[in-house]
Amino acid sequence: MNTQAEPKSFEFDTEAEALVTAAIAHYPMGKQASAVMPLLDIAQRQMARHTGSAWVPRVAMDVIAKRLGMAPIRVYEVATFYLMYNTKPVGKYHLQVCTTTPCWLRGSDDVVAACKSQAGISEFGETSANGLFTMSEVECLGACVNAPILQINDDYFEDMDGVRTEVLLGDLKAGGALPPAGSTAGRSGSAPATGLTALLPTTEPAE
């Protein structure tokens, strides 16, 4: 398991720095603290770029606190409140399985089982030995119509089932890149899986 140690220091790189300046500029003077959420996100993405793990180490939170003139504890509060900030290292692919009722009814248990077997882990929150996967349980991702949902990093993979999950993770393990996001069952958007049932093209031109 490649649990990274807490780094000794953190600094925004040039790419991040441009985003940071832009984020802070959104807010009026004296209200810079409002930029805490974008900055946490920028830091997390920078960590992903540099280390392959998208998380916000504590030193980064301290850097952000200093930058925004806030007490460090205020940054910790925000970072720990929102589950999209990872305050511990995660795998390269963060498997966020929705297990809320609609997804569960549509078979999220199979998705969870496939994730476990492919990553070789047994619990939510665990990271696979190769450091590739961390599986988290998340609440409704707001895409129930394409349930069940597996979110990997920023992307939604929809209409999942056990088999497709296994294939997807298998590819990733083999070094493949993330496929395009969206339905894995081949439907377009949230259109009915069995083809259109309404708004069909009219056969008879209207009189």
Binding site: R58, A71, I73, R74, E77, T80, F81
Partner: protein
């Protein structure tokens, strides 16, 4: 003003007041956990629910502003039911460990559960539990008991100005804490123990020591700084177990510094509980009779001008008066209370008082601090400055050592030259309506102290700080006894010697009344030293005769705080062993050497004290002086040196014999300043 009806009682409250305040005005008690009148409103415990006519649901009264004509009901079935529901939810995750909880007997949750709790629990899932966190040597945490009221968070953020506490994670996983394990670094951290409505935060040194109903409570005055915070001394038998603040809006509101609260364990250690006599260079235990005989022997044939006395920083006014009177009877004018050599000018009271008064800080709109770190010298007073600063419109300037004062300031410079070159801060002072100066002891304990005093006074005069209805010149003392001593004239009389002149062989016999804060090594080798005090500290180590006196909790006494407010502390316990109240010792020895003091009991002594200065009779009062006499102190402002100001207090936790003897204070020093303090005992 808004007119509202509470349970049929009509009351008028200010617009913007909360419904809870209106209920209180009507004499109705509203249960609350998160609301606290000195903190911002959080509205998260929901215990304060009331019913308001025309509102469909119960309303949290602490966060609801009053409206004219509101009809509020605090005791309807709806209210009771709602509060019972809140209580049931609070208790879902609260451990029922009251028998082993230190808060037991003084717990808000326990008290309210009597009224709103049910006799059994309907909840049989697992309770949430939270790991133990270490917040340093003073505050013990049992966060499983926390009900997330956030009072501690709001206190440290708002009042203490050291935002270290917060609520991390959310929902059931929410935890109140520091996130990164650390010792709380505020000098006011102990107050969160009082604020916590449950047993989540309790006193670490006091853990498992006593139950509140076993304690004898005595009102007293704090002596660890010159603020004179009002305290309650809780004792069981002969032992002082803890110190808590009492409310006094003019002085400490309801806060207390950590040293004042936690140095009590120093009262049990290194105590002088019997007389000692030095024989052949070694101290040996003696009886009172032997000690008195040794003193009488040594005093024989010594002329008055070869005898001197120095009063310490924690003495009560009564014992200092007794010593002063005895010295006068012996024909000596060599008395001084300024151990640190501070160039305090006792000729006019306003030269050495905090004339603006502590509550007066809230009126000021500009503040210049010279040679002081109020956060370390008087944390409670510092909280008042911060309170004023938070409310906006206070410009603060600092001359001296730069430090985190918990509020923003313009740093002007480190030394006396900055007094003349205030830079842009001069404009802020000039345009201010009520500007004030705080002059620290660090600025006065130097060779050019008198010049600094004169220069500071001149500044005050120049920037219109002295006028009929505003006195902006303030001396911030660090010694609880100092102002009282100056008020009763414990300074050299005509031709008398000051501390410096008494040292180095300036006198043959030197009487130290609990005086330890000067370099005792400078006492002349031939000088016979009598140490009367309560702790085996620097003074006792040098003494030829030791007379065991009483610490502040062991004697009744008057203390005058830095504002010039005389306050009276009652006796909580008796002095240990053979030790006696200090005035009694002085009365007895004076009779022994044939100069019996003219008072036989404490009442007579107090009468004498009030005759010396009527100030001592005005207990609890403060005379706010008008700054109409512009004539300054005697010092020559031009004689000022160039050395930068050094603050009087660097180690907040150890400033006096009691705190130096306290293991808790030593632990604080280790936690905060990184160095292990000199081992106690």
């Amino acid at each position: 003003m808004a007119k509202v009806t509470v349970d049929g009682i009509e009351v008028e409250v200010a617009n913007g007041a909360s419904v809870l305040q209106a209920c209180e005005a009507a004499g109705k008690e509203i249960p609350r956990f998160c609301y606290h009148e000195r903190l911002s409103i959080a509205g998260n415990c929901r215990m304060c629910l009331v019913e308001i006519e025309k509102m469909p649901k119960p309303v949290a009264s602490c966060g609801q502003p009053v409206g004219d004509g509101m009809v509020i009901k605090t005791d309807t079935e709806m209210v009771r039911k709602a509060r019972r529901g809140v209580m049931e939810f609070l208790l879902v995750n609260h451990p029922l460990d009251c028998p082993i909880c230190d808060q037991g007997g003084e717990c808000d949750l326990q008290d309210e559960a009597v009224g709103y709790g049910r006799g059994y629990s309907r909840y049989d899932e697992n309770k949430r539990s939270v790991g133990q966190a270490d917040w340093g040597p003073l505050v013990k945490t049992t966060m499983t008991r926390c009900i997330h009221c956030t009072r501690c968070i709001r206190f440290s953020t708002e009042v203490a100005g050291v935002p270290e506490l917060g609520a991390t994670a959310r929902g059931e996983s929410m935890q109140v804490g520091t996130y990164v394990e650390k010792a709380l670094s505020s000098e006011l951290s102990g107050n969160i123990i009082d604020l916590c409505p449950v047993g989540a935060l309790t006193s670490k040194p006091y853990a498992y020591t006593a139950r509140p109903w076993e304690l004898k409570k005595t009102d007293s005055v704090d002596v660890f700084d010159a603020v004179g915070a009002n305290i309650r001394v809780d004792a069981r038998g002969a032992e002082v177990l803890r110190i808590l603040p009492r409310v006094n809006d003019a002085v400490n509101e309801e806060w207390l510094g950590d040293k004042s609260r936690f140095a009590v364990d120093g009262l049990k250690r290194r105590r002088l509980d019997r007389p000692w006599i030095r024989e052949n260079g070694k101290l040996r235990a003696a009886s009172w009779e032997e000690a008195f005989a040794a003193i009488a022997d040594r005093l024989k044939n010594v002329p008055g001008e070869r005898i001197g006395a120095i009063a310490g920083d924690q003495c009560d006014a009564e014992s200092m008066l007794a010593l002063k009177d005895m010295m006068a009877a012996l024909g000596s004018a060599n008395i001084d209370c300024r151990q640190d050599g501070a160039a305090l000018d006792a000729t006019r009271r306003e030269f050495y008082l905090f004339n603006t008064t502590i509550a007066g800080i809230e009126e000021a709109d500009a503040l210049l601090i010279i040679g002081s770190n109020p956060r370390r010298e008087a944390p409670v007073l510092n909280a008042r400055i911060r309170k004023r600063w938070l409310s906006g419109g206070l410009a603060v300037g600092l001359i001296g050592e730069e430090a985190d004062l918990t509020y923003g300031f313009d740093y002007i410079g480190g030394g006396p030259e900055s007094l003349q070159a205030l830079g842009s801060f001069a404009d802020k002072l000039r345009t201010a309506k009520k500007p004030m100066i705080i002059l620290g002891q660090g600025a006065l304990q130097r060779d050019d102290g008198a010049a600094v005093l004169a220069a500071a006074w001149a500044l005050a005069a120049q920037y219109n700080m002295l006028n009929v209805d505003w006195h902006g010149f303030n001396v911030l003392h660090t010694a609880a006894a100092r102002v009282g001593a100056l008020d009763l004239g414990f300074v050299p009389g005509t031709g008398g010697k000051n501390v410096a002149a008494m040292l180095g062989g300036g006198v043959d016999v030197l009487w130290l009344l609990a005086a330890d804060e000067f370099e005792t090594s400078k006492i002349g080798a031939e000088t016979f030293v009598i140490y009367q005090g309560h702790h085996g500290d620097a003074g006792a180590a040098r003494a030829d005769v030791i007379l065991p006196g009483a610490a502040y909790t062991e004697k009744p006494g008057t203390y005058v705080n830095t504002e010039g407010r005389a306050q009276f502390g009652f006796m909580a316990v008796s002095p240990p062993g053979d030790a006696r109240e200090d005035w009694r010792i002085l009365r007895a020895i004076s009779a022994y050497i044939g100069h019996a003091l003219p008072y036989d009991d404490f009442a007579q002594l107090r009468a004498q004290l009030i005759q010396t200065n009527p100030i001592f009779g005005e207990i609890g009062e403060v005379r706010r002086l008008a700054g109409s006499n512009l004539e300054g102190p005697v010092g020559n402002a031009a004689a000022i040196g160039t050395a930068p100001f050094i603050n009087a207090v660097h180690n907040y936790y150890q400033t006096d014999p009691i705190s130096r003897a306290s293991p808790t204070m030593a632990a604080c020093v280790a936690a905060h300043y990184g160095t292990q303090a000199e081992a106690a005992e």
